[in-house]
Symmetry: C2
Subunit: 509 residues, 2 copies
């Protein structure tokens, strides 16, 4: 039976039809169109000008991606953010994203918002003492040598700088304490606990600089300026309200910092009337005791009663894996939510089936208005359904998740799935200062080029900006004003893109 030579048999067989079957391409297009329609931005309709701007954007995006697709070792977004950070400015897509109005930032921690270059400038203030150890720095403003213990010895920063052979090198060295970013290092994997230890050192260094009241005022003004210049018109800021101090040692309580935020922001708005403002989400470290958290909830409740426009709600912060699970706080959080909106971190973890992962269950059952990160959510179909049903937004921070060791290649970031499913996503930046990122543009850029589909276009970007307004805690009148400012800036942005001479070479129709 098997004796006839194979080659002869093959010749006996002929296939004649060589055409694509009827309906095949139609079905194929329908499936792809369904996916686009489902995805974030898929239902956005672009007007003629937006369509032209989108053609330019997509031509640039396709060119840049094609150049790297053929050379995957050059596809930077799959590598650690630090390895390509300094090259981002060269991207023409980035230039468009930078100038694009982005609406609001809804997930950012107050002490870690400002670029370390500006933090270094703030160390030029008088009376600043530093206590260096091999891998950390403690700062304090004082007329005399600080009384607090120092493992090494306290020294005036101004004197150290003046006595250094190279003040620029001195400042560069100082800056390294304020950021995890290193330009010329190998960005190997570090486990999540190790990177959080480094991250906490950066946090304490910065905190020791900006708890001095005069510096905090400048810090806040510079922070608002950076976000405004990055086309962010409204910010919801998570803050634990640390005590501030004066040169003479006077301490200010939590309310003082709230007023400082308010006054500083009001002043900024006077100078920049299209900036809408801020709200605060007050926080406590999740590693602390239930009584401490209860105390912070009570503070939030009180301050919110007095300043309902300024206080958006409450959250628990800190490394989620090592802190207490939300389930420890259910009695106090479920009572608190009757008066205070919750904006809970949950599922900022790669573990599945652990207490950190199951914080997602509690965040949803506790009625969290949005969820911070929700990194683990794609592994929980029932929770995704609940999220959609309750219209809970996800605050996604891609670069943060890379730097804090949840994911290396951002193509594996769950945001790709959230975008495809059309979940209520807002992009944010968590702690852009702590890794020397732009306030929001870097996160938008990485999400657009590295995470989202090659096909994702201006409609997705616009929807993400709109989501940040829709899911903000703003009352209706300010939300309308933010929308008005956004659309006004959006129209100008579109006109700028389509009239920009430098895109003539693209030969877009």
């Amino acid at each position: 039976m098997l004796t006839l030579a194979y080659t002869t048999l093959a010749l006996l067989v002929t296939i004649t039809a060589r055409t694509i079957p009827d309906n095949y391409n139609q079905e194929r297009r329908a499936l792809l169109a369904e996916e686009t329609l489902t995805s974030v931005g898929g239902k956005q309709k672009l007007n003629d000008e937006e369509t032209r701007a989108n053609e330019i954007l997509m031509k640039l995006k396709t060119n840049e991606l094609n150049a790297s697709y053929f050379n995957p070792q050059h596809f930077n977004f799959s590598k650690h953010y630090f390895s390509y950070k300094k090259d981002i400015e060269k991207s023409r897509v980035y230039q468009i994203i930078r100038s694009m109005p982005k609406g609001a930032v809804l997930h950012v921690h107050s002490s870690l918002m400002l670029h370390p270059d500006i933090l270094v400038k703030l160390t030029y203030e008088e009376y600043l003492y530093a206590c260096y150890t091999h891998d950390s720095i403690k700062l304090q403003f004082s007329k005399a040598t600080p009384a607090r213990p120092c493992a090494n010895k306290w020294a005036l920063v101004s004197e150290l700088r003046n006595n250094s052979s190279d003040p620029n090198a001195f400042d560069a060295h100082l800056r390294d304490y304020f950021t995890l970013y290193r330009e010329n290092e190998d960005y190997d994997y570090v486990d999540i606990n190790t990177v959080w230890k480094r991250f906490n050192k950066v946090y304490y260094a910065i905190k020791s600089l900006i708890t001095y009241r005069p510096v905090r005022e400048k810090y806040w003004y510079e922070t608002l300026k950076q976000f405004y210049n990055d086309n962010v018109m409204y910010i919801e800021v998570r803050s634990g309200l640390p005590d501030l101090y004066e040169l003479d040692g006077t301490k200010h309580g939590k309310r003082y910092l709230v007023e400082l935020y308010k006054n500083g922001t009001d002043k900024f708005i006077e100078e920049h009337p299209d900036f809408i403002g801020i709200k605060l989400i007050l926080t406590r470290d999740r590693a602390q005791s239930i009584n401490h958290v209860l105390e912070a909830i009570n503070v939030t409740r009180q301050l919110k009663a007095e300043m309902p426009d300024l206080i958006a709600g409450f959250d628990l912060v800190g490394q989620e894996d090592l802190g207490r699970p939300l389930s420890d706080f259910i009695p106090i959080l479920s009572e608190a939510k009757e008066e205070i909106n919750l904006y809970l971190h949950a599922g900022e973890t790669a573990w599945l089936g652990t207490s950190t992962d199951e914080n997602l269950v509690d965040a949803i059952l506790l009625g969290s208005k949005r969820i911070g990160h929700g990194y683990a959510l794609t592994k929980h179909p029932s929770l995704m359904s609940a999220l959609i049903k309750k219209d809970i937004a996800l605050e996604v921070n891609v670069i943060s998740n890379v730097v804090l060791s949840l994911v290396h290649d951002v193509r594996n970031h769950p945001l790709a799935t959230y975008l495809a499913l059309g979940l209520p996503v807002v992009l944010s930046s968590d702690d852009p200062g702590a890794w020397s990122a732009e306030p929001l543009s870097h996160d938008f850029f990485v999400a657009f080029m590295g995470v989202a589909s090659k096909r994702a276009d201006l409609r997705m970007l616009k929807q993400l900006a709109i989501n940040s307004i829709v899911y903000s805690a703003l009352e209706e009148d300010r939300k309308s004003r933010l929308f008005a400012v956004f659309y006004d800036r959006w129209d100008r942005f579109i006109k700028d893109v389509i009239s920009n001479e430098s895109y003539r070479d693209l030969e877009v129709s």
Copy 2:
């Protein structure tokens, strides 16, 4: 209004209720139970003995995971497979998985199934010549020095070995050409193109050894023995049916290799009557021309007509990003599928919105019976729905995806989502020989400990084994026999676990 001191205010506020609200825990349990029920294995009912075995398994799993959760730098599964491969044997969970009947392997490439230690033994055959270059090896059996060109020079392996100062070191060096695995290296990221180049070198080295007919016969017997010993009772093998040769230079056509597989397997079944057998999925490299692929389809059609029990269907292989997209082959594949079942690789990529990614659309529209890898599927909700509706199984190969640079930390592997969604998943191992893995146990172990939920238990493992039988290409009678063999072995496996003295220390109820 803001004058009253904050601390005083905080004291005025009291929260009295400190209990978990009614229904909260009930709702929480219901959500988690729903997720378990939805997930792969969630509907499996365990009998009393299985329940006891499951308690032992889960006690071991929890102990091993808790030890690493508290030390994430020790959570090996998040690191490259090569960094913990040699430690796997130490795991007590692994010992159970190793002894567990696993049903079938449905996605494996014929030349890359056997452990390199055995390949080295096959180089002890007479008349083997080697041509070494700095990073590759070409082998050929010949009575005289091979006529084929060699960049260096042809030499008899037996002479090289005898003349070497250390034959063990010689063999270890030789083995390195047959595997990507290196025990003492740093497993940094390499981009997908670089790793595929290395992988192809391993493939060509092995291929040059096993196209010699006498060696291929031994290769096949040893391969079946390894899979059988790993508790795999049926295999669907992808093969391009390369020509074999004899010492005198005689060449055998494709049919010869089919018969060799058949006769070798029949002989193995005689000695191991509970081994069910194999089927072949014939393949062609997707980088080749449409005419070459058509030729391979015609061969498949012909051989299937003659040996319908042996030939399961057809597939296209090779690095998907660099090969032709399925859309190039629609006319010939859509005609072929009327006669031949397709088992297509699709979406073995981290790119989104590219032609490789959209191979998933075509694989589904072309009626592929299963999908090889489908790595990109979580980013395609419409395609996931279509997959469920059409009951198309996903052949998932976690370790392969790590070694071939799709994902580093397996907690980010999409299998976690597939398992949670209860998709029709089968676990397979792709090319276990090419990375010195056990035939299937390593993949089951990594999936169970590193990818699946901490809560996933024996029900998931059992369902995965059952899936491999359900979604096999077996005709009904052999499928029933495979089920019978599986359940018989399963019962013995359960009894062995619960009667094993070494688990007495676990104090399981």
